[in-house]
């Protein structure tokens, strides 16, 4: 009979069959020879508290997903342009404002109207060169050419860690800057929300974090919509604005006193340093350019060609937007306003669309795009952290996927750090910009230099031409990185300059720890392990004779390699009681010596530990030290509140024994249900 089942009779006499219990079936599935795959039920909680926790988690994050439920969607060029370019395109919402602010803060406000177009054109040219350089990355690395992977393959560990650190900072700042700018756009449309910007930004970051913990995917069409809505309304605004400037002589809204004062200034004292500061501020428009090169595998085949074309399309769109918005700002004589907060792009939109629904829609689309840009970092940051985790530079838990297949640890870290950055900057985009561009240009430089090495190493068809493009890109971005760091150093770039080496050192430290651990645990490939070579000594601390102790003693007997190496230890303050126990012990548990340790100072744990030390010291020095197995009888409480009443001494003893040399702790649990059965 199997599993208590009797044969079942069939329709014909003699036809019998037996149903075999498949006990593993609810929890596991055989998927190969000697290979089981756990089902969801295998990791289901068994306690009431665990089930409650799981329900709460499922409510907040959704049901756990299996590995095979991961969506591997390929993106068309149109969709990829919207999804990968949201970060880059969204920077056009604040890049112009940063150029104007750079002139204003330098005390040459009139230059904001006369020179900002030239500065924006220079940045657009730089964008073209960087995009053209990254085009080569798309072609050379169809599996995705982030700065980290390109530099790891071509420039070695240190350069790749610098790139990774710069990227991590860049992604964090993308969240902080995009969210802050989005909130500023909202406050520009609804000035009543001005005092709530930090709260709104933190709430938005919390919601985006939660959404990503739920396994939000960037590939859905819904994510492409905000980008195209913004592009449509922004190009319409630029078209209408340019028409009004060129054909209607529109010079902008009624000038404010600040604008009148600024327009009366002369821009004769604009030095090269001020121009460089304006250029460095506006260079934030280039952030996010590398996203397409990183995401080449997500494109439809032929991946490299599609990615390269999308990248160039993105550069043209961003360049046009940026120059167009700057052209409108300078011709409409628009300056950013702090109280009430009015961003430059919001003022342009209000002037072009009027105080109509068109203006509010444009602001909504801009804010949406900026939130989407923040969301792209939630995809890239955890992925990079996971790669670093796999490479041993980050704690390994960053490489583990959570219940919803998302890299939960990385997502949480990004959310917390970005939130802290937003709070410290009081959700002001301008306060964050000096930190932003530095890491971006360091990344560009490392990636382009890596590509130069790549072409020199591989010497593929057309390598000279490609090498020249990347060499120009590397040189130019290096110069810009130096310029940006120098002119923004005091404003906050120093923080990035300090943070990057700190992160590199931290990552190297983590890697060293993992390397040391791996070396310590390494097993030589040629060794064959037959049987344990150390003798096993078993020591059972007891508190009397009871079922739990007897069970532990029986278990200890099975472990001792030699009966003489088995003993029970009883620590007591009352020798009379100990004598009574000894008499009973010898009668009921013969063959297991009981050592009584009197403790006049009433300590229980210390004497046991010291007794083990003494046993070690007494071991013949010419023999290899034995493995000491401390068997702890443990009474398993039925309720959580029971646990306070039992096993407290055993817990303390366990705490003291953890990490002791050649010592193994064996808990022998005794459950109350067994009491009833016995």
């Amino acid at each position: 009979m199997i599993g208590g089942r009797r044969p079942i009779s069939g329709r014909k006499p003699g036809d019998k069959r037996i149903r075999v219990d498949r006990v593993h079936s609810p929890y596991f599935r055989y998927t190969g020879r000697g290979q089981l795959t756990a089902k969801a039920a295998a990791s289901a909680p068994t306690t009431a508290l665990g089930r409650f926790n799981q329900r709460v988690k499922a409510f907040l994050l959704g049901r756990p997903l299996a590995n095979e439920e991961e969506i591997g969607q390929r993106l068309s060029k149109k969709k990829a342009l919207a999804i990968f370019s949201s970060d880059a395109i969204s920077s056009s919402a604040y890049a112009t404002e940063e150029i104007i602010l750079a002139f204003l803060l330098a005390g040459v406000g009139s230059a904001a109207f006369s020179l900002s177009i030239e500065v924006s054109v220079a940045i657009a040219v730089l964008l073209g060169i960087v995009a053209f350089s990254y085009r080569q990355v798309c072609i050379a690395y169809p599996s995705g050419g982030g700065s980290y992977s390109v530099s790891k393959a071509n420039l070695g560990r240190n350069a790749s860690l610098v790139a990774a650190s710069a990227l991590l900072i860049d992604y964090t700042l993308t969240v902080a800057v995009s969210t802050s700018s989005a909130v500023e756009q909202i406050a520009s449309a609804v000035p009543a929300l001005h005092d709530w910007t930090v709260v709104i930004a933190i709430t938005a970051i919390a919601l985006i974090t939660l959404g990503n913990l739920r396994g939000l995917r960037e590939a859905g069409s819904i994510f492409a919509i905000p980008t195209y809505l913004f592009l449509g309304s922004a190009f319409l605004m630029i078209g209408l604005g340019v028409f009004r400037i060129l054909f209607m002589g529109d010079t902008g809204p009624t000038p404010s006193p600040a604008v009148i004062r600024v327009t009366q200034e002369t821009a004769t004292n604009v030095g090269i340093l001020i121009l460089l500061r304006a250029f460095a501020s506006g260079a934030v428009a280039l952030t996010g350019t590398e996203a397409i090169a990183t995401g080449v595998p997500a494109f439809e085949p032929p991946e490299s060609r599609n990615a390269a074309r999308t990248l160039m399309a993105m550069a043209i769109i961003l360049g046009t937007l940026f120059i167009g918005i700057t052209f409108l700002a300078s011709n409409f004589h628009i300056l950013p306003m702090e109280f009430p907060k009015q961003t430059v792009i919001a003022q342009i939109a209000r002037h072009v669309y009027g105080d109509t629904v068109g203006f509010y829609l444009f602001q909504a689309f801009t804010a949406l795009l900026l939130f989407l840009a923040a969301n792209t970092s939630y995809i890239a940051f955890p992925r990079l952290a996971a790669v670093l985790g796999e490479d041993g530079f980050f704690p390994r838990q960053f490489a583990f996927r959570g219940d919803r297949l998302a890299f939960s640890t990385g997502i949480l870290l990004l959310g917390v750090v970005a939130g802290a950055v937003v709070i410290s900057a009081q959700a002001r985009t301008h306060a964050l910009i000096p930190l932003y561009a530095v890491g971006v240009f360091i990344d560009f430089t490392i990636a382009q230099t890596g590509m130069v090495r790549h072409w020199l190493r591989t010497r593929e068809l057309g390598w000279r031409y490609r090498l020249a493009i990347n060499a120009v890109g590397a040189t130019l971005t290096l110069i810009i990185a130096i310029v940006v760091t120098s002119v923004k150093f005091v404003d906050g770039a120093w923080l990035v300059v300090v943070l990057i080496p700190t992160l590199v050192a931290a990552m190297r430290f983590v890697r060293r720890q993992y390397d040391a651990q791996a070396k310590e645990l390494e097993v030589r490939d040629d060794l064959v392990f037959q049987r344990p070579h150390r003798e096993q000594r078993v020591v059972i601390p007891v508190n009397g004779i009871n079922r739990s102790v007897v069970q532990a003693v029986m278990f200890g007997k099975s472990l001792a390699t030699d009966p003489s190496l088995l003993q029970a230890v009883y620590v007591t303050t009352d020798l009379d009681e100990a004598e009574l126990l000894r008499e009973r012990w010898e009668r009921q548990l013969p063959g297991v010596p009981l050592v009584v340790v009197e403790s006049p100072y009433r300590a229980l744990v210390g004497p046991v530990i010291t007794y083990l030390d003494v046993l070690d010291m007494a071991w013949p020095p010419d023999k290899e030290a034995p493995t000491t197995i401390v068997v702890l009888p443990e009474y398993v409480a039925k309720h959580w509140w029971d646990r306070l009443l039992y096993n407290q001494t055993a817990k303390r003893l366990k705490g003291e024994l953890v990490g002791r040399e050649h010592t193994v702790i064996a808990d022998v649990p005794y459950r109350r249900t067994e009491l009833r059965e016995a």
């Binding site: 009979m1 199997i2 599993g3 044969p7 079942i8 069939g10 329709r11 014909k12 003699g14 036809d15 019998k16 069959r17 037996i18 149903r19 075999v20 219990d21 498949r22 593993h24 079936s25 599935r29 055989y30 998927t31 190969g32 020879r33 000697g34």
Partner: protein, 193 residues
């Protein structure tokens, strides 16, 4: 699917869900009257429906395809699918010898079938049996579970390279099953076609 149905002399193409389990005889009601005897050819493009099917799993090449097929056909009526694998116990061992329970191979046959059904987003109940005769066990299990259909897979094999070999299980099932039996034979290998 096309089905020969009995209806009025004016034949018509009918498209729509079957009104009763198609297995066995499909009866049609036209204008409230039962026309049972006048033969008419009607092409029925709806999927055949059943309430419960026993899928006989041999652990062979056809298992995945018959499970996927059964899942697709079961979906419209949300029918129950029962995957049955029988481990044949020869007469040298008692019938209740612990053979199938210890056999990882037997468990795997059912687990793979279960996973195949899940991949098509359908649930397959699995049953592992020990019996002296595979065919009898399948028929008896289907009978006990009141299945409408038994679905079997049949690999294309030749006996010593000669005649097509159908084995003994499928003829037994075809001969003795009280319900409908669908046999899905795998394609003939190219070199033999």
């Amino acid at each position: 699917m096309s089905a020969v149905r009995r209806g009025r002399a004016h034949a018509r193409w009918y498209r729509g869900p079957a009104r009763r389990p198609v297995l066995g005889v499909t009866q049609s009601l036209v204008r409230g009257r039962r026309y049972a005897e006048v033969p008419t050819l009607v092409a029925d493009t709806s999927a055949p429906q059943f309430r419960r099917a026993v899928v006989a799993l041999s652990g062979g090449r056809t298992d995945r395809s018959i499970v996927a097929l059964a899942a697709e056909l079961a979906r419209p009526a949300k029918a129950d699918l029962v995957g049955v694998h029988v481990v044949e116990i020869d007469w040298t061992l008692p019938l209740d010898a612990d053979v199938a329970g210890r056999s990882e191979d037997a468990q795997r046959v059912l687990d793979i079938a279960e996973a195949t059904a899940e991949a098509t987003r359908y649930t397959l109940e699995t049953v592992l049996l020990q019996a002296r005769d595979v065919g009898a066990a399948i028929v008896d299990e289907a009978t006990e579970r009141a299945a409408d259909v038994i679905i079997c897979g049949l690999p294309f094999r030749r006996r010593f390279g000669g005649d097509f070999a159908i084995g003994s299980t499928i003829p037994y099932v075809l001969k003795n099953a009280p319900c409908a039996v669908w046999v899905v034979r795998e394609a003939m290998p190219e070199e033999q076609a």
